[in-house]
Subunit: 426 residues, 2 copies
């Protein structure tokens, strides 16, 4: 289709993928770019980090997603630069790719608020390599704890500090507690489960700040029921290899700090592109980058204004924005009127805390406990991409539910490979 | 059991695991050591390298294997040193572990016959990290090929050289061909399957030298039927980032060289320990290290003499040797006569080449084609450890058989982690 309208979608997360799917079958020629060769179902990433799921259960190859498409192609590339005047994006290998419409959906990265030592001494939970690193690290800590004869060193290997009391931090802390119950409790006769401590640290006065306060309270009680130490109104000041220091001045000896306290947008545009205070790119009411008719911004990277502030960095806004932009492009191509301004339909948010315990805030309905957990389970299976992934995740959950086992507790890293590194910059 | 007989088993491969299992329930106090925290089912490693199986399908946590044991413990450690006089082994963290009986089952590593550039520019297929590296590398090559506009560079990205025509090389080459059929054939409209070449290089005058010549011939014909270039009586002289040079002087432009042409034993004993010409440790007829009553050697690391030469570096001898040593220790403890000398029962060897095509050389019975393939399949499921792994592997095979898909084709590396690296030295 050399003469067709060329759409370049940068980023294969929830926003970019939803956009490309709606453009599939249109007369536009669509190129989807991502620095990884897979779409990642990030809501279940913490389950990879806790050895419950395999990476392949929550990652879906992007080429596979458009195998039968006539007009959507994928290419693994990191976009480093956009030239608005010449209408091209530039990739990490120096290629220039022309576009007629550009969709920027590059998402976010961990935000350490400029604290470099914190970035160096903590492990994030945003990407698949990070989740694998965290899994390897936690399992190695148990081995180290079993091998030391120094009680204070053992305690540091068995102390796990989770920074951030949002959904990721709460879900990870709950799942880590279950991992320790199962693996430490059963497989380490040298150690006591009670010697291990999980501390979750949150700056606000409650967990799950984006949820109804009642649900945040429930999450706190549930985590405390797992003997997790919940610290509210507390910040982390610094971290090194062996400890973290809190805003209260308290120092916790810990070999593990998990960072889930902040995400910042990442995009390939220059610093002086139109941005809000949040550093997100400024979207107009039709999700165009302010001042650019042919550039759309969606997902974590886009500041989409509503009467209640910017839309949160979550997958539902990203998906709705992606679909809206794709429909806009299709209608423009069909010569029809431009659509109505974008309106976000809030279907709610949810988080799981542990076995039979989750919270869901769905259109005013506040679910918790077993019912919240069932809802959470069904919604996540529904949104997973690919029949095989759904079956694999259900099978792993059933196995865990019935057998209470963590079969995937392997400490294994893929050797470094110069070729893979050149291709895969992140 | 502070007063009981202390057995230290070094290595949790087929030999060490079989030994520890037979000692489970005895009155000896057994400590199993391995540098990884899992037992690896190496016969299916090439299926991880070709994105058919997940790592967790073929790796089994060693602590899990002895969770319910009263007398067998596991510790993740690399043994660097043995002090025969003081009866201790020393680990990578400097710990000293005393033994009354020692079983050395440390296996083998890739043998590049001193050719350092070859070691640097090829990828082995002995460990899980190597298999993941190879998977990432091959998938990255396809992406790179799709993105270059230089035809000769594209050809180099799509040329895969497998060195060694034993079971590993033959099985990997066949599985790689199927991976290319499925992924390259379906997901890369920019490329032609026919542009990709697999070359297998063997120094002898036939493939599968350890099998009956008829089966080697069948393997060769089957691979040629997959358009694989089979080069016999050929050696690799050198390799760099972009090419390999053969003993014939021919140079093949290739970005991928897979090494399966040699394994050498690896053990923590000094160079001047009793060794055969093969560098394997010299075992007496009761599998004791020559001159040492309380040290046993089994598996790839042990030279066990038979009228037909040393036993091959394969899992069946390792398992039989491990069980023999465990029974010997048990009988010594019970004050009974030492057992009869070790005798190896050859149950045969087998290798799969592709869909419906395998060879099996079982006690004089030579199977090939569909029947060989079915036998191969059942035997491998039977020997896999763990109910969950059997189900997972069967499910993956069924999915591949019916859907012809490679859902696991992810390019993903676990980030490096200093803690995991300290603990996991290999």
């Amino acid at each position: 289709m050399p003469d067709s309208h060329r759409v370049v979608v940068v980023g294969g997360g929830f926003g970019g993928l939803a956009c490309a799917r709606v453009l599939d079958g249109s007369d536009a020629s669509v190129l989807l770019l991502d620095r990884h060769n897979y779409h990642l179902f990030t809501p279940l990433l913490y389950q990879v980090a806790t050895a419950l799921l395999d990476p392949s259960d929550i990652a879906y190859p992007l080429r596979r997603a458009f195998r039968t498409s006539r007009n959507v192609r994928f290419r693994q590339a990191l976009v480093t630069d956009v030239d608005f005047e010449r209408h091209v994006v530039r990739t990490h290998v120096g290629d220039e790719i022309p576009y007629d419409s550009l969709v920027i959906a590059t998402g976010g990265v961990n935000n350490y608020f400029g604290n470099a030592p914190l970035a160096e001494h903590s492990i994030g939970l945003k990407t698949l390599p990070e989740a694998l690193r965290l899994r390897n690290h936690v399992l190695s800590c148990l081995e180290r704890a079993a091998q030391t004869i120094d009680p204070s060193e053992r305690k540091a290997w068995l102390t796990f500090v989770v920074v951030g009391g949002g959904p990721t931090g709460v879900e990870y802390a709950g799942a880590l507690s279950e991992l320790l119950d199962i693996v430490l409790g059963n497989d380490y006769p040298e150690l006591n489960r009670a010697d291990a401590t999980i501390t979750i640290i949150e700056g606000l006065d409650r967990l799950l700040g984006a949820f109804h306060p009642r649900l945040g309270k429930y999450a706190e009680q549930t985590l405390r029921g797992f003997h997790i130490d919940v610290r509210l109104r507390t910040l982390v000041e610094k971290a090194d290899d062996d400890s973290v220091t809190l805003s209260s001045g308290e120092r916790i000896d810990a070999k593990t700090v998990v960072w889930s306290a902040g995400v910042r947008p990442w995009d390939p545009l220059p610093e002086d592109a139109p941005r809000k205070h949040s550093k997100r790119l400024e979207a107009d009411e039709r999700l165009r980058l302010k001042g650019h008719e042919d550039v759309f911004v969606i997902g974590d990277v886009a500041a989409v204004q509503t009467p209640r502030g910017e839309l949160p960095m979550l997958s539902p806004p990203a998906m709705q924005e992606g679909r809206y932009v794709a429909h806009t492009i299709r209608e423009q191509r069909a010569g029809r009127d431009v659509r109505k301004p974008f309106r976000y339909l809030d279907k709610g948010t949810m988080a799981t805390i542990g076995r039979h315990a989750a919270v869901a805030d769905v259109r005013g309905l506040k679910l918790k406990g077993f019912l919240g957990w069932l809802t959470w389970l069904l919604v996540h299976i529904y949104y997973l991409i690919g029949f095989r992934n759904r079956i694999a995740v259900l099978a792993s959950w059933a196995w865990n539910y019935l057998v209470r086992d963590r079969p995937i507790r392997l400490i294994v890293r893929g050797n470094t490979d110069p070729v893979a590194e050149q291709t895969d910059p992140g």
